[in-house]
Symmetry: C2
């Protein structure tokens, strides 16, 4: 099986000013074509560090993918380190990339600088995969047998995430056309609502009975839920996928509606599919989640087909004046109450003229809260307005978490979406 | 200077199912106390990989921080690998952590399982920093001189981000109390609105004149803007900070209001400070940003003091019926127009009875768009309602980007916030 190392260059990662999201995308893409990522590595902008780390990565792996260190500013020295490592005698200007640089600079309405021009200059002996989305190209080095007996390939990508991700399909094509690839098969089910440890206990007998060569992994995420992934290496594709499906069928029987999707499904994607199938519309009224639910729903391309809009009613005056929550409800029960959140859901459904609505009201922290309603408490509601009968149906649920403000908001939002997902599945 | 390695264990990172956000937090914390992070490393759940990678990290560094591999499920084998590496003869139950495990399990309303109990069991010879936020503790191994001459310390943290981050202050205290620390000084200015390459060109003379020992780094981020960080190692703290301040003063003169803050400042934090100082309130009307602006504004604890709420008007009916955008405006100019976004801003200010409002309308993609208004185009507006005179003031701006849906949304949102920030600074 081909192996790969993913290397990230840049002091900005080592000092923690930015999070490396590229490596995750790259490893997923490599995985999908059966290339095993053995390790990921981040190191600093120093020439000797770059050379020794990349030399080690090339010695041990068939494919090395490097991100970062190609920006236009002076703290980047990757390109000359790569030239040294490869033994390039100089640099040349890649014309395809230079045209893109000129186009981008012109569109930004700025003058072409030497720094921009330098972006299209690459070491002799390397080839370029042009980057349509930015000024720095992907530079490909195919190392000869004299250098490393297994003739590895190094791909150097810009560090800007959407540029690196934009170049990935071309990198994957290049790998596919230059290597004989082994097979990897995996499939993922996505669950929501059962904590990881409870889930593990619940499916223990099933897990213990799994064939030796089928590997299970738990991938928990506060917004998505727990993903369960089964993998096998080698074998015949159809047969292996059939074996995984057979195991997942057993799991579906055990977990029921806690399973909501497969692969890259998220709650907002699945909700979108349900609404499109029903030809129905959705709105949201958010207090403690402060726009997070709307933001998740609209992260799905095409959400405008079913998502009409939302009201973030952070101040109680907005709950009353715009969503029409009766003043007495807030006075009597408080904003974090079943009564308030149900009125919010019904209210937003009414003012936006939608079929379904989801609402939240809670305390994300760190401040606020009381002994009865501590930080981390939220009420969630889902309302359905039947346009034929004019009747409203509403369900609600209280949740309590113990996380940071950010994670509490994420959990309130995903639990509200899950309440909606379950409601849509049963109506 | 003390050096550190940050190691992340888990196939879920190598196959790209989750993004490692922990390492960034950890490196920032280490950096702040003058510990230099030499590298970060992610590798798989295999015993031999874990042992060889950690052995290498311990050989080369004073401090090794490990995250991941401590969850309750079966794909975790880190703890026994750590025991083997340290030479532990067995395991013991840490009573403090066991009490926390019982408390958490009880609150979740689930039964205490063997898997839960095992979380409080740690290798002999290690000590525990209890984890109040989850079941797996931080396990500390102080290696003796016989093992590694420089007597490094290894901290093993759970992989769940808010738990790992929650434990960090205790880890940092532990490091401070066990090591003599060298000094690192850095200070960061945050800019918005100038692309990295233009900025680099603009400040080139200043950068060229920087003293040799003051290091500059560019840290671009589509939401925050470009951070400029100056660092020095060693020296006397007050003197070094004064030297950095002197350099930054020159930069402030060159960049003017493109600089909006320092350190960890974000646009939403700075906007919050301005509004609190003025004692004024804010609302938002979002179309293409779909809740992102509200979500950013409410990510700041205490935002309820000045942020009243928002309307996500994804469907045009919401723009008309709730925000009161005249039908003729949309019919004549379209939803993505100066006229529409200005009406949205004034409308939300009116219905929420706020002083300031920010609004967006654009095309995030991938679908939609036209030759005149391609994907990536958005109109942004800021409105001010003078409650004494009853007069409205509104400014607007068109932006155009060329990114993925996700990044387009981020950029629309941050540019709208920056328009608001500039407006607040001059009013």
């Amino acid at each position: 099986m081909l192996t790969a190392a993913i290397c990230t260059i840049g002091d900005e990662i080592l000092i923690g000013q930015i999070v490396d999201t590229n490596s995750s995308h790259i490893s997923r893409a490599l995985n999908s074509i059966g290339v095993k990522v053995r390790y990921m590595n981040s190191f600093g902008d120093e020439r000797s560090e770059i050379i020794s780390n990349l030399d080690q990565a090339l010695s041990q792996n068939d494919i090395v993918i490097v991100t970062g260190g190609l920006g236009p500013t002076k703290d980047d020295i990757t390109k000359s380190a790569l030239a040294e490592l490869y033994g390039s005698t100089g640099f040349y200007q890649d014309e395809a990339q230079f045209e893109i640089v000129k186009r981008i600079v012109t569109r930004r309405g700025i003058e072409l600088s030497d720094l921009n021009r330098a972006q299209a200059s690459v070491p002799q002996g390397s080839i370029v995969i042009p980057n349509q989305l930015g000024t720095a190209p992907c530079i490909v080095f195919r190392f000869p047998e004299e250098r490393y007996p297994h003739r590895p390939t190094l791909y150097s990508l810009p560090g800007v995430p959407f540029e690196a991700i934009g170049l990935l399909p071309d990198v994957i094509s290049d790998i596919k056309s230059h290597y004989q690839l082994a097979d990897i098969h995996h499939k993922t089910l996505v669950t929501f609502g059962i904590p990881e440890s409870t889930l593990a206990k619940q499916i223990e007998p099933w897990e213990d009975a799994l064939p030796e060569d089928i590997k299970l992994a738990y991938l928990p995420n506060p917004i998505v839920g727990v993903r369960l992934r089964l993998s096998t290496y080698g074998g015949v594709k159809d047969e292996e996928i059939r074996r995984i499906d057979t195991e997942f069928e057993k799991l579906r029987e055990m977990l029921g509606d806690a399973i909501y999707g497969e692969g890259e499904d998220t709650l907002q994607i699945v909700i979108g599919k349900h609404l499109k199938n029903k030809g129905m519309t959705l709105s949201a009224a958010e207090s403690c989640t402060g726009g997070k639910i709307a933001s998740l729903l609209t992260s799905v391309a095409g959400a405008s087909q079913y998502f009409y809009g939302s009201v973030t009613s952070y101040d109680n005056s907005i709950k009353e004046n715009i969503l029409g929550v009766p003043h007495e409800i807030i006075a009597q029960h408080g904003a974090v109450s079943r009564e308030c959140v149900e009125a919010m859901a019904k209210g937003v459904n009414r003012i936006m003229n939608t079929n379904f609505a989801v609402a939240t009201s809670g305390i994300a922290g760190p401040g606020g809260g009381s002994p009865e309603k501590p930080v981390g408490t939220a009420w969630l509601a889902v309302a359905y307005h039947d346009k034929t009968t004019g009747k409203d149906e509403v369900i609600s649920k209280k949740v309590a978490f113990n996380s940071s403000r950010e994670v509490n908001i994420d959990r309130f939002a995903s639990n509200a979406l899950n309440l909606l997902r379950l409601y849509l599945e049963s109506h």
